[in-house]
Symmetry: C2
Subunit: 380 residues, 2 copies
Amino acid sequence: MKKIRLFTPGPCTVPEEALLEMARPFEHHRTQWFKDLFAECNTKLKQVFGTTNDVITITGSGTAAAEGAIVGCNPPGSKFLNINGGKFGERWGKIANQFGIDCIDHKVEWGHAVDPAAIEKLLKDDPKITNVMVVHSETSTATACDLQAIGAICRKHDKLLIADCITSAAALPLKPDEWGVDIVVTGSQKALMLPPGLGFVSVSERAWKVIEGNKGQHCFYNNLASARKAMLKGDTPYTPAHLLVRGLRITLNMLLEEGMEKVWKRVAAMAEATRAAARAMHVEVYSKRPSDSVTALVVPNGVVEKDLRKKLRERFGLHLAGGQDHIEGKVVRLSHMGAIDSLDMLAAIAGLEQVLFEMGHKFELGSGTAAAVKVFAERK
Amino acid sequence: MKKIRLFTPGPCTVPEEALLEMARPFEHHRTQWFKDLFAECNTKLKQVFGTTNDVITITGSGTAAAEGAIVGCNPPGSKFLNINGGKFGERWGKIANQFGIDCIDHKVEWGHAVDPAAIEKLLKDDPKITNVMVVHSETSTATACDLQAIGAICRKHDKLLIADCITSAAALPLKPDEWGVDIVVTGSQKALMLPPGLGFVSVSERAWKVIEGNKGQHCFYNNLASARKAMLKGDTPYTPAHLLVRGLRITLNMLLEEGMEKVWKRVAAMAEATRAAARAMHVEVYSKRPSDSVTALVVPNGVVEKDLRKKLRERFGLHLAGGQDHIEGKVVRLSHMGAIDSLDMLAAIAGLEQVLFEMGHKFELGSGTAAAVKVFAERK
């Protein structure tokens, strides 16, 4: 009985309904059928993102979508403030550099969330800043920032705000219009429960003004203005990965049937249960402000991270992610996104508990799973 | 009995084996399993492309792959000669403009192939040209150029040659190393028989020198140098559409089992049969130098193109493409790529014949299909 249990923070478990939909007879994408499908998905993406803004679909990863947003929002003369507190924050600064964008790369200690007041100070100190990018849920450190507070500051100072919501959209509470988030970037393979291959960008009207007026930008494939122009005709500028759009319709329907508030609660309960289990097992949570979509656990002394993940894979088919860069070998990361519920999360915790115990970490066997059960019982 | 028969020049028919493979339990991509799969595909892509050069896989459409090639090959100081004889040739010039690349856009009349001697003259007239891009099979006009002759000229003048082989790779005879083609660009949804979502670029060593030495290029997501660096570690720089890579293994195996020479012959026979049927039905072939991967037929007087394609779809599930730009409404295009064989092609021809006759076009009913049968019988 060999199972695959994906608890990596992307790709996440794809529901069988979506996989089977994608195996159905294959169709052409320049048809009324696709236009209807695409329009339906675009409407439902707005509902899932909690916005009335257009949501652009790009064939590519979340990085492709982020490139489109960063390059589009930074015409010559603009200044980009990038908040860099992990691997993904770091990547967005690299994109800005690659495209010759004037960029302040504001570093935040890994595992900490940016202090909104620090952003306000930066904006006051340098009025030339035109736009800000933050990572809502930094996957590499499993840390979430206070996007609502940051949105209020950016709105107050009249700056565009781009949010990397790659591991927050459809997982954490997200209200871009209410919070003043101009651009939400995400990818298909996280809480949207699809295989990788699609990136999404929601864009506010004031951001469209900058993007569509940007004549100096060097970006063709990931150009959001071209994508919007095509989308208004029900189309995409280049051939879309329309098989994934077919799967998307299924997963969007699943999310909306559950209801976004309930989805957020389901995810938050899994995160809280994991943290409770960690406390019971004397395992430290890495982040000082943990994201509810992914938890990073500090690997206990005496346990070798690579061996831990290998045993989890081999014994239970449990896939966890390791750490990146200077925290490689020091943490393991468990996702709370994808087509999983409390019992799946319990299974992952029970597997982790058994392997940690077997590897010599000292705690009361059973206490982790028991702590998680209590959280789920309370939060039902 | 509602069938879908895709004779559009991309997406083409995807074999059920590939669709079903992609519906199997979903796995993670940062694993040894994926490294092995990716390495196998990379090796087999070389065999299918007929090259010993690296083949880079990008998550995106063929346009994404072309952007990577064009931007990579044109560091500051380079000069790009783009041969523009259709919609795709036009697009590559637009990419060059978008990225601020010094570009000569050499226009060729639609439906005609570029004369290799004209390229040689351009190279002699402007020694500053560093690289040339041609479309091997221009999908919009269903026209193939003499890539071998152009390769010889570029090699003689020591210029890099980029070939858009989006509708030629795995369909028309292609020998990049022998012919002197430095870069071959293609996409997944044509003769590689997959859904859209992957782009491929093979790169010669002399092209790598330019690309890897290119410090001034504004390209992040579609950056070939980053992709190669990751590929050497068995990986991709950003999350790949690995579901499609799983399907790719299946279709590459199918192509290699058939053998590339036989694949090319199968495709050529379908094209020849279609042209023979057209002659019998008094329908003109649009191109002066037809590609064997796609045929553009001039819609006869008295027949409305939109109605023709609609009837074909409704009555037989036959999907043909229309014309683009100034030949919209004037041609229909039939693909000879994808998981189709002579009997499938005969079915398409028989459907087309019946609908053309019914719509009042004058010819001997049955003559088209009969002409095609004769071609297939001769070429078996």
